[in-house]
């Protein structure tokens, strides 16, 4: 008889303890390995890889070099499809976006987690932000027709679509562009959703092509825990050879902002108190984020109507006037 019953139980536990430790260690290794492999894209083969990490707005001089008929042709042919992701709790912001900047999109579609009686929307019937984004983009792709550029935003985003068109004027939508306010998180460079995401039709086409591939772009996300949907998007796009790029003006200032004008002005008041409005933000800014619904109406007045008599503006371009925009 090798061991007494009590001793046998004790031995089982101590051996079991090592077993448990082994399991735990193995589990940790597994998680770490998954983490590392997800972010390790250095060796993938891509045929057309964008080497630059930021994209610039054209300068006035560049545009003036084009003949006038060409400028007019370019500005009249550029079409932006706006994808705005909403939930019932966003109702006040949703209303403001409907009444303000979304009217300047050639087509604006609101994708809602569920149907809402008050406003028209495409219901994606899910509250999961990543699945919402996937479904919205698939729907946009299927319904896009002649829209070459896609602009994705939340209802807390405020966008100046004419400045977006200005930025995209000299860019080819058959190239894979994925632009906005870029953030680096570990090895991943992604575009922040709240500052607005721009996709060219080529980029969206590639994304839609990989949505069905669950090894590259699964619905439940590639990690054990959920990444925010804007990071998931970046991961999927990377698989198709599309990389995030930060958009900047000719002075190097960000064109897309995930912060509000107030926030940026306050920072400038602290850093450059003699030159606040000059240095806070780009003259051709496209987005700000975090303004209240009322404030969005004020911004429409400030951006589109209030002006100093006698100042020359950019008269070399004509963007198609928006329909029923009675507050601007």
């Amino acid at each position: 008889m090798p061991h007494a019953p009590a001793e046998r139980v004790h031995k089982m536990y101590s051996e079991g303890g090592s077993f448990m430790k082994g399991m735990l260690l193995g589990g940790i290794f597994c998680i770490v390995a998954t983490l590392l492999s997800s972010f390790n894209f250095g060796h993938q083969q891509h045929t057309d890889h964008h080497n630059h990490h930021h994209v610039n707005a054209p300068s006035k001089e560049e545009l003036l070099r084009l003949p006038e008929h060409k400028r007019i042709e370019l500005s009249q042919n550029i079409r932006v499809y706006c994808v705005i992701l909403v939930e019932p709790k966003d109702l006040a912001y949703w209303a403001a976006v409907r009444e303000t900047w979304s009217k300047h999109c050639d087509k604006a579609e609101f994708y809602s987690s569920e149907e809402v009686k008050v406003f028209e929307s495409v219901s994606v019937e899910t509250k999961d932000p990543w699945i919402m984004l996937r479904k919205a983009l698939k729907h946009a792709f299927d319904n896009a027709k002649d829209h070459k550029w896609y602009f994705i935003a939340r209802p807390t985003t405020f966008a100046i679509i004419e400045n977006l068109k200005y930025l995209l004027l000299n860019k080819d939508p058959d190239q894979p562009f994925y632009l906005g306010h870029m953030v680096k998180s570990g090895d991943l460079e992604f575009i922040e959703l709240s500052g607005g995401i721009v996709l060219s039709s080529e980029a969206l086409k590639r994304l839609v092509g990989v949505l069905g591939d669950s090894s590259k772009c699964p619905e439940q996300g590639r990690m054990i825990w959920k990444l925010p949907e804007d990071k998931e998007l970046a991961v999927c796009l990377k698989y198709t050879g599309v990389f995030a790029e930060n958009a900047e003006d000719t002075e190097g200032k960000d064109i897309f902002n995930a912060k509000s004008v107030n926030s940026l002005i306050n920072e400038a008041m602290a850093q450059t108190p003699q030159e606040v409005a000059e240095s806070c933000c780009s003259d051709v800014a496209v987005t700000f984020n975090g303004h209240s619904p009322n404030n969005m109406h004020v911004m429409m007045f400030g951006v589109y109507r209030l002006r100093p008599f006698g100042h020359k503006f950019h008269d070399s371009l004509v963007f198609l006037p928006p329909k029923d925009s009675d507050n601007d």
Binding site: N262, C281, V298, F301, G302, F309, F319, P321
Partner: protein
């Protein structure tokens, strides 16, 4: 107009719209060379406001009468688009006794101008005003500055001007933009509805594209307005070029 406690606000005026004045003077109860602010040796507070105004205009008349054709009085929380003010004034004759701003209605028959929205006296109006202070035609009738000076202007034969644009939108605003632009935000009992000389409109028709002033502007909002008006551009957007001020 500023005060020792709010020289910081005055500094924001200086680094934004104040630079566009031909002459910029900060009037305070105490001098402050760092701004620079002129010391009027008066008290501060609402009760002393009209005395301060009287002292300020007297000083301007005595030292700066020929430095300019028009004299704007604003607060350190007023934001002014100077180019639009100059356009408005170009339609009027400064050798006439004229008084321009946001017209308020009760108490004074021809109306009086909101203090906070800023008001302008022509050179001739300034002459008559200071003469009136000196010969007793105008006295300290009230500490409510805009009302007191409005009564005085009427008694001196200084005429008011309709400063609305051709679409009948107001250009001087006694409140900050949100309160004018958002319908329903001001309670029906708010003083604004009672005091507007012309029927007040809220919503997009409140404000001219060539607006001249807004009031209750915080330092942060001064710079925000500066950014919207002078820096943020929207190429290719059709502006309404028919907007102009009413001709007399």
């Amino acid at each position: 107009m500023t005060s020792p406690q709010s020289h910081r606000k005055a500094r924001q005026v200086q680094s934004t719209w104040g630079r566009r004045c031909t002459v910029l003077l900060f009037m305070s109860s105490r001098a402050d060379p760092s701004l620079p602010a002129v010391g009027l040796n008066t008290s501060e507070g609402r009760g002393a406001l009209y005395r301060k105004t009287m002292a300020a205009f007297t000083l301007v008349h005595d030292r700066y009468l020929h430095a300019a054709d028009w004299f704007l009085k604003a607060d350190d929380d007023t934001y002014v688009v100077m180019e639009n003010l100059r356009l408005l004034l170009s339609k009027h004759d400064s050798s006439q006794p004229l008084y321009l701003g946001r017209r308020f209605s009760p108490y004074v028959q021809q109306g009086y101008m909101s203090g906070g929205a800023g008001y302008v006296l022509s050179r001739q109006a300034l002459r008559r005003y200071v003469a009136g202070l000196k010969d007793g035609t105008c006295t300290h009738t009230s500490s409510v500055e805009d009302l007191a000076i409005g009564r005085c202007m009427e008694s001196l034969g200084v005429r008011v001007v309709d400063t609305r644009d051709v679409q009948r939108r107001e250009s001087f605003h006694p409140l900050y933009p949100e309160l004018h632009l958002i319908p329903g935000i001001l309670a029906p009992s708010h003083w604004y509805w009672k005091y507007s000389y012309y029927k007040a409109r809220n919503g997009p028709d409140c404000c001219s594209d060539l607006s001249v002033s807004f009031h209750y502007i915080t330092p942060e909002d001064m710079h925000i307005l500066e950014y919207y008006v002078y820096h943020l551009q929207v190429p290719g957007h059709h502006r309404d070029d028919t907007v102009d001020f009413l001709t007399p």
